[in-house]
Point group: D2
Chain length 352, copies 4
């Protein structure tokens, strides 16, 4: 076992944390050597998550202590609430441990934008500058060998994987992008509030944070980077009465006559993602459903072209806890370490 | 009881039919005198719907026989699959019985458009011409005293109640309308197929009939009529893992500077729907959820204006079996008969 | 309006409270004159429950003040957490207002038993003695004209309506009763905790409070009263991933050879409940589902006799917020006032 | 690859079949060499299950042809409807291929009992005699090296793993066993009928096949075998509005004073299942929920002892498609082949 990478997880009692545990427990090159929780240190992880009994060799939750983390681990995943990682990660990096952050604190490079959308103080600029943005299929070159990766947001991953090839190719009018996002409830985490009460969610569908979601500037950051010019989008988020899954329905006006048919879209995207194992482009006339990626690291994408309105509709789906969080974090680890990007992630979707 | 209106329901074993029964069973001016089913004639309604035991005085399902219907009823609701009403309703009208049709066969006036979108033969032109389109809050004047009303589609009601005031006022650029619709599963009816299998729907979210839904021309018919010029829209339908409820998220570019704030939208809509009992305009910063109209005849509407993109987002919700079907049909009956439009419909939403 | 009964609701912001509001808002003999909340006094009821917009004429939540309640109301429903009513109701009764308590604090007459199962101090003995236990189909005679009724628990109503005729008739061996109860989540109320978190409940089924549920002594109180001797039962509660509905599967050994067939059971129960509007006995070979009473005040009951094991299986269902709470409370009000027991309650189940 | 076991799956388009594919696709010692379907031969498996795109190297569905199966495979899983395997498996065994049957046709050894409960003709007696009943934790010795294993039913596995140690130890009165079973909908398979229609299942809970379920004689077969005398049980099945999961709540009178406390139960079961990787006995006062085994091969068990009634309540849970079907089938394969019983099955439950 001595050759395996030793991994620690800060935020092990959150949904992102337990999903990391599920994945890393079976990763052939990783040992989980520390599960960490600020609020439950000293308790057993399995007290709150009995489904993990017998799955892990470590069980007692460690406190958040950078030196202890460095002693126990070579790489640490920080799956903490926004605002916590911003303070913790710089301390972790000083110890020399590698970090993959799932919190969102290091995605935006612009402190002012961060503070506008996140409503609290941004991390220090040098920490922001040091973070590699880990949208694997777009920025793998930067992730390779990096010491610190900021894992993208769940909506952002789903929306941008569906848009980047189109934006780069100039297939759409960049001023017309509208993204209608829908997410399962697990994206809100395990914290309790009326907004995640079963009786309020079940048999209900609603929009939330309209025009105010903190993933808006992150989506625009990626699209602007790939477009080489500022891209502004309309993005709406909705809550679906289900636990896992994100679907983005994205609309844009077609800017290039060659893209007035679906074959052209399929060819463009299959070329763009050639060799990448986790993006699957659907055949003509088929659109992916969230269940078809459930529990897996896939992002599936389908297209519809409407000659009546000259608009394209792009449907992209992920499992928000997998490709939208823990799965992509493990994929980033694999790329950082120079391993196959799907190591430990060759999980078929669970269906039904 | 002799003064009450005698009502018959064709298609009593479908979801629209049983919802009509739920409403009419308690309507103070109506007696249900015949429940009719082509496929189950002679059987007991309660054999298939035990929840109705003790609710109705009639139970044996009648066959579809226009003369018998006329004998038993003054008004008949036809809640049949598309294609059936198209043939049946002209025969019913000949007998002199009043008809409210929920099938969709008489909504489009243009036979060619009907055949393009419905993929089968359209009803005769004179029958189409005789049908009053019963979107109550827009066309009540025409419904009053009518003998034959065509009840609007569920998506159409939800989308157009959210758009008509804006279109009439010129508040939006009519070429930029995108409607992202989401519906519960009951809209698909009680027929069995893999698409409504519990294990395929539960914990799943998906788009369907992208750019091909037969409600597209119906939406455009209403909007074009109110705009006084052709309006083309992009409309997408999604299936939500819940039984009841429709939510439309509608996007459009704001065409008039006065509508660059939400107060103006709220005022416009509250004025437009003044005195109407079933449209509720939400306060600033609030958007309706489908559960907030569940089991009731309300259509709730909320707004968000985004100065960054100069677009408005309109959220409108209904219960697809109520305001989207049986509820609006009863409302149409009330208006036809000169009664209060909410007679028998003063049902608060069931929550939670 | 001056002839109507003026009703107040303490605990208007809980699920029991809003269900009372839904029912009373359409009750022909009642005006809701005060909605009361200890935690949200001064706020608008519709701020927390936008689905009630336009449904009520009162909106501002009153504080809990017995004198004010008496001024505004002739009858008050106390839908409070256990422990609150125990203190409040004696004060309310002193003012002369009628009270129907939904809290559970006045169901058990034995203070020691109360404290064993509820784990806090019992109300004063004289208040306990003054409460009429309002299981309508069994104790209507006592409810008629009463000033203070204690509304039964949801599980208790469902289980005992399924058992009382058998216990009275001596059809079963009273020492063999096992009740396996299953409930939707709304029974736990609107309070937030991990136990009602959507992601923890959805796609999950579990037992809780095994052998410890506070409804056990209440069930045994009713059964012992009807048997004329102490009856002890095994009762287990489970949480179903749905919002509304209770189903009890009850097992007992058949004590009387005449009840070794289902016809005898059906006859026994139909006789027992003859003339009662809210108990429906199913035909042979049919068992009720919770959805078949959803949103209504019905309790449906079905039977299976197994000659192999000489046991009967009794299936009984209610909507826990209706017959299990608010519906039965309104039924109790109707009986107290000498009205038809189904006044304002003639609501067909909402299906689907 | 030549050293791997070549596996074929008859019934690849059912839920049991796709779950086998999910597991075998990642099994380190297995190659899936043929996916077989009687109804869809010649079509692509991924046409009906797009979630499997990129997961398998084979995609075209083969017809059911014993000789072809033998050519392509060393072991075949038959995940067919009851009645089909009964005819097919004898033909397969003649070719010399190993068989693990998931259909239920070879579980009961008594043809008359089979025909009483299954309502169609039983397989030939010699085929019944040749089948090893593969309840892994009880009959592993017989499975080791077997050529033909009959995989137990989902309810049976869940119920008997919760009862066998008690029955063998004489801890309970064998005449008092009552098993209240609850299952998710996927147990009914992918076939379409009103009973699995989403709108009929969602927000609904019901009993079905009361005293008539074909798993009753199978449960009694196992318990009688372990008891060394005939055991008769009452067993009820219920449908839970969720896709996966079975929970059995089992009641029995305690026959031995030593088992009047929960510690004794926990010790008894931990000893019985010592060294077995898929049975987890919960700590005192904890009962398992179905979600805690979701997607995994675990069976979790908890206990409650009630001194008031001298009864024990045993709660046992499985994922019906895993330990209740495909997971146990793979476990049986591992045991047949002499591999670690958890090879390819070290999957943590998916939570939430």
């Amino acid at each position: 076992m001595k050759d395996k990478l030793r991994a620690a997880i800060v935020g092990s009692t959150g949904y992102g944390g337990v999903e990391l545990i599920r994945l890393l427990a079976n990763h052939p090159q990783v040992d989980i050597t520390s599960v960490i929780s600020s609020s439950n240190a000293g308790e057993a992880l399995t007290a709150g998550y009995p489904h993990l009994q017998g799955v892990l060799t470590v069980d007692t939750l460690d406190a958040v202590d950078p030196r202890l983390i460095r002693e126990k681990a070579d790489l640490v995943f920080t799956a903490t609430p926004s605002g916590v990682s911003g303070k913790l990660v710089p301390q972790l990096l000083e110890t020399g441990v590698r970090v993959i952050d799932l919190s969102g604190d290091f995605r935006l490079k612009d402190r002012a934008a961060y503070e506008t959308w996140y409503k609290h103080e941004a991390p220090p600029q040098d920490a922001l500058d040091g973070a590699v943005y880990g949208l694997c299929e777009v920025y793998a070159d930067r992730v390779r060998g990096a010491a610190f990766v900021s894992n993208p947001g769940c909506y952002v991953t789903t929306a941008t994987l569906g848009l980047v090839p189109a934006v780069e190719a100039g297939a759409i009018d960049r001023g017309t992008i509208i993204i209608d996002g829908k997410s399962g409830v697990s994206g809100a985490g395990r914290g309790v509030n009326l907004g995640v009460h079963y009786s309020e969610i079940n048999e209900n569908f609603k929009a939330y944070k309209v025009n105010k979601h903190q993933h808006i500037p992150e989506i625009e950051m990626v699209l602007s980077d790939r477009a080489g010019e500022p891209v502004t989008t309309t993005f709406t988020t909705h809550l679906v009465p289900m636990t896992r899954g994100i679907l983005c329905t994205t609309y844009a006006s077609i800017a290039d006559e060659r893209y007035m048919n679906e074959d052209a879209w399929i060819e463009l995207y299959r070329n763009y993602y050639e060799g990448r194992k986790f993006v699957r482009i659907r055949d003509k006339g088929q659109w992916p459903a969230t269940k078809e990626v459930w529990g897996s690291n896939f992002c599936d994408i389908g297209f519809a072209v409407d000659p009546r309105t000259r608009r394209v509709t792009i449907i992209s789906v992920t499992d928000n806890l997998m490709k939208g969080a823990a799965g992509q974090a493990v994929q980033n680890m694999n790329i950082m370490m120079g391993w196959d990007e799907d190591l430990g992630l060759r999980l078929a979707p669970v269906y039904p």
